[in-house]
Amino acid sequence: MKALVIDDAPDIRIYVRALLEKWGYETKDASDGLEGLNCIRESDIRIVVCDWEMPGMSGPELCRAVREAKLEHYVYIILLTGRSETPDLVEGLNAGSDDFLAKPVNAQVLQARLRVGERILKLEQQHTEQNHELRNSRDRLRKAYKLIQSDLMAAARIQRQMLPRSDNPLHPLRAAWLFLPASQVSGDSFNFFELPPDRIGFYHLDVSGHGIPAALLSASLCRALIPGGEPGIAQRQDFLEPALLLANLNRELSNPEGEIENFATIAYGIFDRRTGEGEIAMAGHPPPIIIRNGGEIQSLNLGGLPIGMFPEVAYESQKLHLDAGDKLILYSDGITECQSEAGEMFDVKRLEAVATTTTSQDLPDALRVELTQWRGSSEFEDDISMLILNRPLAKHSETTLDKNPGETP
């Protein structure tokens, strides 16, 4: 360990240095405060034995200068002094000295004081090393977290690209939708596409769980649900037969050996865009709601095993028909199971109430407002999504039936 002796008296300098060398220190000396300060700055000095009274910079002034210098390591300073009055000691300690040694120098006491200094420096060293390690691991964590965040954001971007951009492919049918993922990456997804010449296909799906594994399953399902997207999964003509499409998807995505972690519930259907005739099949998805032009509500309670649980499953489909002014609402259970602060669920009844008093195009926003109020927050526990398909009345105008805001729960 490097030690520095500062004293304007050469005899004391030589004596103390000799003692320190004998005890194994690597030593230097300086004859005044300023020279000492430079030496401390330039060499790796850890212990300083310094006279109190010197011409120029005094011992306490040197202490102050060392503390202000913000050195990389702590420097332990023992002041040599003939003073023993309390105010002097206080001044020395306040200036930044660590210990005092009375003059004339007693070798045994000096050695004991140096050991105290070494103990403190050792603690300081350990402390610095631990801090350093902590800082390193914190930096590594930050880096990893940043990487995960950017991956998540990329995944969320890809997922958003799988959502519809406009309802043009449905023309003359219209669509509106709501998508509020619980975390950045959602297990919910939906879309629609043309099935030439006259039909359109649509789906709404919800993968159990959320976060990355759910999003991965959601993404592979979406790819499989794009006509001509993923070779080998859905055969082209499947798209016209909802029950067959679900059976094929399920066969591909079930692993008979594996343990079930994630599965998906799906509603898949088709419509003839001119006549409004359609067909829908469901794999454990919440019952879609049809709201007729007159306000009558129908629930399509068609059961089916979720996709990805058991390999050989048959699905049923059901015919449906959209007349002018009717709308079909597909939604995830994140809406109906959205809990208020008191733990009460939003329930399908409230969804129906909003849906019957709002036009298709206004429904997503209206529902978002209702749910946020219900929840008491814009943070949701589960993904929230809804797809509304409607067949407009002539001139794209939908009746604003019973539009009475007072009725909204």
Partner: protein
Amino acid sequence: MSLEKRTQNSVDIVKLPEQLMMAGAADVRTELKEIISNGSGKLIIDLADTTFMDSSGLAVLVSCLQAARKKDEDVCLVHMGPTVSALFELTRLHTVFQIFDDEQGALSALT
């Protein structure tokens, strides 16, 4: 968390909590899988207290069924309430699980 469990005629009988949802599903899954792997593989799941279950809860029950059937045994459900029952009908899982009104029926099915 610890589930209420007893064993009768080498059938493990476990009571599930009031709600089986995403938040607690992983723990329940681990515990049930341990019971199946340490026991005979015959399991009765008592849903008397379970008033609500979400899709994560369903995944837990299905994974138990798969684990039990790997041991050539089975899982029976008893005391299913109306909300859970509606979920089972929607997902057609009532066609996959053996469901009984009471424990006696389940016990005689498993033994």
